[in-house]
């Protein structure tokens, strides 16, 4: 009996709890559909109708949703559905890569700070405090405004993407660093770390092989909430005309165009806006479910 109880590891336990969180599971399904829609949609559309995201049809101009253009077309006669899919690709990619950047920086920084401790720790954390209280998005705005995108290119991608990845990733690691540090501080007191020390494992190995993997729960939870916030920041910058540039599109730029024309051509706002809001909604619900499942402190009694 007791063997069975011990056999259910933290992860199995979490998985069981998460699956009971119906809304969270539903969100994961919807998200998968949205991702597939954005990833494979453009090919499908070009197969069926032949539209691409930059293909203009000035003669057609803005047209309301119809059978040949399910989401309608924009002022230049471009198919809005393909543009929404394409915008989704960009937004999701930026969010994913920026979150990865913040993950690497935040986990490393927090782990080192917590593990080394003492003065190094208090200095490193003070630095995080200072950065947290700066209006960093203003700095990103400055950065995006002054650097001409064409001067940079990265694996053939437009420079504005690369900048966005870097800038957004570099500003969202702060909270993560704090969380990881807190975890490491308590984990390094644990017996298995003492044991590793005693048998002569190198500190770096202890930190990254034994301690960091144990901080994974909170890290996953927080990252799942970083993705929507990065997506919002990307959209925010694109909305200001500082992010993704024409003819590329992201959900932010599409919503910006849509909100300018919403009185006359409401579909231009409705479709990209709804898609984006739905995605963010699902990401937040997913994060909520993950937190209930993975964060023992937030567990309901």
């Amino acid at each position: 009996m007791s063997e069975v109880v011990q056999g259910t590891s933290l992860w199995q336990d979490a998985w069981r709890r998460w699956r009971r969180h119906k809304v969270s599971v539903g969100s994961a399904v919807v998200l998968t559909i949205i991702v597939l829609f954005c990833a494979f949609g453009p090919q499908l559309v070009s197969l069926i109708w032949g539209w691409t995201y930059e293909q203009q049809n000035i003669a057609l101009g803005p047209s309301a949703p119809s059978l040949s253009h399910p989401f309608g077309t924009d002022v230049l006669g471009r198919d809005l559905m393909v543009r929404t899919m394409h915008g989704g690709r960009v937004s999701l990619l930026v969010a994913f890569v920026a979150t990865s950047v913040s993950l690497v920086v935040g986990v490393t920084y927090g782990a080192i700070s917590g593990y080394v401790g003492g003065r190094v720790d208090s200095f490193m954390m003070r630095f995080v405090d200072v950065l947290m209280s700066t209006p960093y998005l203003l700095l990103v705005i400055v950065l995006m405004a002054v650097i001409p995108p064409n001067n940079v290119s990265f694996f053939g991608l437009d420079g504005s993407f690369v900048l966005m990845f870097g800038a957004l990733g570099l500003v969202s690691w702060l909270v993560l660093a704090r969380i990881v540090r807190g975890q490491v501080l308590s984990l390094k007191q644990k017996e298995f770390v003492e044991a590793a020390h005693a048998i002569g494992v190198k500190p770096r190995t202890i930190l990254f092989r034994h301690i960091v993997p144990n901080t994974l729960g909170p890290v996953i939870v927080y990252s799942s909430l970083t993705i929507p916030s990065v997506m919002l920041s990307e959209a925010f910058l694109s909305f200001l005309g500082l992010g993704i540039r024409e003819p590329q599109a992201s959900w932010g730029t599409l919503v910006n165009d849509g909100s300018n024309a919403m009185v006359v051509y409401p579909w231009l706002l409705v479709f990209p806006g709804l898609t984006m809001a739905l995605t963010l909604f699902c990401l937040n619900f997913l994060g909520d479910g993950l937190r209930d499942a993975l964060d023992p402190n937030a567990r309901k009694s």
């Binding site: 209280s133 209006p135 400055v142």
Partner: protein, 304 residues
């Protein structure tokens, strides 16, 4: 206490200077100068302009010139003749401040109320209702919410004007648009904080004393339950300040954020530097105020 506040205030100064230096370095290191776009400018005039804005001097001398210009607000705009940083802040910051404070007031009022209702009526229709609304609030970007609100309440129902900034009725929609996401976030924080406190031993003690639910919540639970919200106020200020940038664009509000983006796009370096530095200083003072509020709420915490 007073000593700590003074020490913290003095500590802010070097941080602001440091941030100004980083911004300045970023501007200087970026390829291209402020006058590159205007190719029609003859070299002679370009040189005069560069001399006027100290662009031909060594890095630190330049920085010092800008910094002292910032200190008394006399730093001139590179693109709008006659405008100084001080002038711009004096005329447009009050607008942004009003917008930000209104949004914050809206967020705190509705957020705390919704959070307490959600916690006290846990797992009822009230709880699910307010929390679903909160999740929607977090998920809908304000630049989507803004136009939608305008569509419904300004163009549809005609209750409020769609744009401009000329009196209280024009402030309602911008403030709600800006505050909605924070209201939602505060509601979730309040609910989580209250739920944790309500389950704690000292709340049980308070119930055992025979206090009514209202007295228990107001006297014993509220302070502890709102601590996470107070912690959030610092970052929230920072985000509301940057958020005004978008709101001011949507509603054509003549605030500082609006001019900041214009300056950044125009490569008006002196204005950009001025606004960033100014906002940084404001934020750090706000954070200090939040910390002071925290020590008042939780007697176990001291100001460091």
């Amino acid at each position: 206490m007073i000593g700590s506040v003074l020490r913290r205030l003095i500590g802010i100064l070097p941080l602001v200077v440091l941030l100004a230096l980083v911004t300045f370095a970023m501007l200087k290191l970026a390829p291209g100068g402020p006058f590159d776009a205007e190719r029609s400018i003859p070299p002679e005039i370009a040189r005069q302009l560069e001399a006027k804005f100290h662009l031909d001097e060594p890095f630190l001398t330049q920085f010092w010139a800008y910094l002292s210009g910032l200190a008394d607000g006399s730093l001139p705009s590179m693109k709008r003749p006659g405008l100084t940083v001080g002038e711009l802040i004096r005329t447009s910051f009050p607008v942004s401040l009003t917008l930000g404070l209104l949004a914050m007031a809206f967020a705190l009022l509705t957020g705390v109320l919704a959070g307490i209702i959600g916690a006290l009526r846990q797992n009822t229709i009230w709880d699910y209702g307010t929390m679903s609304l909160a999740l929607i609030g977090i998920s809908v970007p304000n630049f989507v919410l803004g136009p939608v609100l305008v569509l419904i309440f300004a163009l549809g129902l005609g209750w409020f004007p769609p744009a401009r900034w000329e009196g209280l009725s024009t402030m309602v929609l911008p403030a709600i648009t800006l505050g909605a996401a924070y209201a939602a976030y505060i509601a979730r924080l309040t609910r989580a904080g209250m739920l944790e406190v309500i389950r704690s031993d000292f709340v049980r003690t308070a119930h055992a004393k025979g206090l009514s639910e209202r007295q228990v919540v107001m006297r014993h639970a509220m302070k502890g339950g709102l601590l996470p919200v107070v912690t959030f106020l610092g970052p929230a200020m920072a985000r509301i300040i940057t958020g005004t940038v978008v709101i001011e664009k949507i509603f054509q509000v003549p605030g500082l954020g609006y001019y900041f983006v214009q300056s950044a796009l125009d490569r008006d370096y002196s204005m950009v530097l001025g606004v960033v530095t100014f906002y940084a200083a404001i934020l750090m003072v706000m954070n200090l105020l939040v910390d002071i509020a925290y020590t008042y709420l939780d007697p176990r915490v001291e100001l460091t």
